[in-house]
Subunit: 118 residues, 2 copies
Amino acid sequence: MLFIHMVERNDTDHLSTVLKATSDPKRRSILTLLAQEGPLRITDIAARFDISLNAVSKHIKVLEAAGLVTRRTEWREHLIEVQMGPLSLVDQWFNELRSIWALRLDALEAALKEDDND
Amino acid sequence: MLFIHMVERNDTDHLSTVLKATSDPKRRSILTLLAQEGPLRITDIAARFDISLNAVSKHIKVLEAAGLVTRRTEWREHLIEVQMGPLSLVDQWFNELRSIWALRLDALEAALKEDDND
DNA sequence: CACTCATTCACCCCAATGGTTGACTGACCA
DNA sequence: TGGTCAGTCAACCATTGGGGTGAATGAGTG
């Protein structure tokens, strides 16, 4: 089983991890870079940003834990690839929140209409 | 001008703030509560969760800074109301990332087809 | 003016985060 | 086997973050 480190206790935790991972501008830049250039090595990523190799390595680990990135160790290099999957977890939660909110407004509106009839 | 504290230096910062604000499970719970029950006082919110009034006050400030919540000081109470607006900022960024990614895949596919013709 | 209630402020605590440097592992090359 | 390159580990530092307590503010109410 690959991606063991990506498994989370529950969805709430995973959602938190994804949101936190994307909340850092540098990590978002990394994701964008990977999206446009395809799989890259840690070293390549470090070269683009004014950041130490070590710092990039840590960022990648955070993204990896969120499942936003996977690692393909090929040859002696680690190829890092972006993954869009986890984003839908966020979409899902947002839409849930929005629908809960809309539901309440609908009920409120209905109640007001009811009031009109009195 | 209302919502001065909500104004951010730039969109990137605002996006980070929104993502960070939503990355905390307790804050997400607060947002959900507000979505289903409508505007509530800080005290009301604190009563639902096993958390001090002070902690809630801090969370609200974080959500407020992200624009995910607004405060209507009515009477002697602060009514906190959820705002869906900032969520679309995240949607937007996600969709941008996805389209950058898709674009690269399309180009790759085209290149492969080109290769077939040789 | 005194009292109460809602919220914030000022600190303190501790855990986590982003960053650094320097040493280490592991794979390939000569 | 010695060298070089990719990446991680370990230790450290400064900052932030979530939480708590107790005092202060500020707007009603009596």
